[in-house]
């Protein structure tokens, strides 16, 4: 899956470690994962970093800056864009989530 390439392969986990974690978590039910997350234990199982260099977005946006979500089912292209936007940019210039760039 190409989205994995957005992960930093050096820190805090290798790409292989993340793949292994996803594979392991995929064997668990959603309620179990919810419990692990709520207990603050998910970092032990999913060694993913959001990246410390990302700028924090502003607190507020004007209404015209919001790109409202569609309540209808997404097509394949829209789904892919949504997944891509969930991963932090490795570099603000190199990668900007499409769904966020319009805001």
């Amino acid at each position: 899956m190409s989205e994995f390439m957005q992960l930093d392969a050096k820190a805090p986990a290798t790409l292989g470690a993340v793949v292994e974690a996803v594979t392991r978590l995929s064997t668990l039910g959603e309620a179990k994962i919810l419990e692990l997350v709520s207990a603050g234990k998910i970092a032990e199982l999913f060694p993913f970093s959001a990246g410390g260099q990302q700028p924090i977005p502003t607190d507020t946006l004007a209404e015209e800056e919001l790109v409202e979500a569609s309540p209808s089912p997404l097509n394949r292209k829209e789904r892919e864009a949504l997944i891509q936007s969930s991963l932090p940019a490795t570099s603000p210039k190199k990668y900007r989530p499409r769904t966020a760039s319009k805001r």
């Binding site: 309620a31 990302q54 924090i56 507020t60 209404e63 089912p73 969930s86 769904t99």
Partner: protein, 218 residues
């Protein structure tokens, strides 16, 4: 014609007042903002089931884990208008699409509300200039019901109340009108977990009733 999302909700402070609401898809920046600006404050609130949640981790995790299960996630951000007229993030929601319906006597698909959080109303007022923070429980559930209806799943949804939320969280979902799955009920085979009595769902009539009650706010 798809049913739209809600565009206003009552204020928690003054139920007669309406607060403008908007929905966007959740991107990494939204998760980072929430973790940094709100999560740090929620972490000290022992009663919150989400006090340890890191949305920056949850967001990619949910997509990746569900992709591995051949399903998709719809992560949404709920925004509300502040006193300045601009919009602030006040709620977060991750829905799994086409999840097994919890009521196994009627095999079908539903949407599963995996993670949802509403910002603490006190924090919104004191830290972010929002005199009228919106009541978010119905907004969060309605978003999942609308997605389910528009996807052809008749509004069927399910969720699991995190154990960290205790009895209080069970009371919240009861009050919001969801049906509690009996603790003795079997779960769909692909839900790999014993039933701990903390699963809730909305069937078609309940979903439609909940959605219809909010149609004036769309």
């Amino acid at each position: 014609m798809p049913r739209p999302f809600i565009r206003s909700a009552p204020s928690k402070v003054d139920k007669r007042r309406r607060v403008d609401i908007r929905m966007t898809h959740m991107a990494a920046g939204d998760a980072l903002w929430w973790d940094t600006r709100l999560g740090s404050k929620h972490a000290s609130m022992a009663a919150r089931a989400d006090r340890y949640w890191s949305w920056s981790v949850l967001l990619p995790l949910c997509h990746l884990v569900q992709r591995a299960k051949r399903r998709h996630c719809r992560p949404l951000v709920i925004w509300a208008r502040t006193d300045s007229g601009r919009f602030l993030r006040v709620g977060m929601l991750i829905v799994i699409e086409a999840y097994p319906y919890l009521e196994i006597e009627h095999p079908a698909e539903s949407h599963f509300v995996w993670f949802m959080s509403g910002a603490d109303a006190g924090v919104l007022t004191t830290e972010f200039g929002m005199s009228n923070p919106p009541a978010l429980g119905r907004v969060l559930l309605d978003s999942a019901i609308v997605l389910s209806q528009n996807a052809g799943l008749a509004g069927r949804i399910g969720l699991h109340a995190a154990a960290a939320g205790g009895e209080g969280l069970l009371a919240v979902y009861n009050r919001l009108g969801l049906i509690r799955l009996p603790g003795t009920a079997a779960l769909p085979a692909s839900v790999r977990r014993p039933n701990d009595g903390r699963f809730f769902y909305a069937d078609e009539p309940v979903a439609e009733a909940l959605a219809a009650a909010l149609d004036v706010s769309r």
